[in-house]
Amino acid sequence: MLSLLPWPALVAFVLLGLAFVLVFIRLVRGPSLPDRVVALDMVAFLAVATIALWTLVTGVTAYLDAALVLALIAFLATVAFGRFIEETPVAPPADVPSAAPDPTRDP
């Protein structure tokens, strides 16, 4: 599509690839579930940015619809993960003895 784009697009692809690697490090290491959810949200942002860049390089504008839909689905996924996190307490309150001990946790 654009004659001048190749080297800035190449540099941008390299930067986006680095960003993907860094965010995946957080996704793997992230000590808690919310950290991983934030990393997944960031992966979706990166995918939207990459698709937009790919649209620009190839000139196929149909990819832009994929970016829009991916942004929508990422938002829904993050909200769903938020509800999931909210409804699964990590540490029960110290003063309330839990009726049924969690089998996945030390007694």
Partner: protein, 144 residues
């Protein structure tokens, strides 16, 4: 001209996204990571989409790119709010050791003491001398 502008927007957007990714890895606790991912990440993706809107002369493409930008800018704060609130509510939120002030737990303490007792909120020894707490404690009249 539009090509130079689009190239500059692409490079700036990719740079911001990379900064966001560095922040997600390097920041010490969840709210700081969300701070990096939400603001810098949204701006970076928005700049790249803006480059698409600038580079294509087609109005349909421009409208779609701008709609995606608007959608990202609307939903990113909401999703960060949902995740932060959920993390705080589930008890999974561990703040950085150097955190100076936690307005959320302070507000929750004030609300809980208001709900349980009709008295003004007792002063938490950790928060004694905190001016906003005193303001909040003597706020509106306690409900019957």
């Amino acid at each position: 001209m539009t090509e130079i502008l689009a190239s500059a927007l692409i490079l700036a957007g990719a740079g911001f996204v990379l900064i966001a990714a560095i922040g997600v890895v390097r920041m010490p606790d969840l709210p700081m990571r969300m701070h990096a991912a939400t603001k810098a990440g949204t701006l970076g993706a928005g700049l790249i989409l803006l480059a698409v809107a600038v580079a294509f002369a087609d109005p349909g493409v421009t409208v779609r790119a701008l709609a995606t930008i608007a959608f990202l800018f609307l939903t990113a704060p909401i999703s960060a709010h949902v995740v932060g609130r959920a993390a705080a509510a589930s008890g999974a939120l561990k703040l950085w050791a150097g955190t100076q002030m936690n307005d959320l737990t302070r507000d929750l303490d004030v609300a809980a003491s208001r709900a349980v007792t009709a008295d003004p909120a007792p002063v938490d020894p950790d928060l004694a001398g905190h001016a906003p707490l005193a303001d909040a404690a003597e706020g509106p009249a306690p409900r019957p």
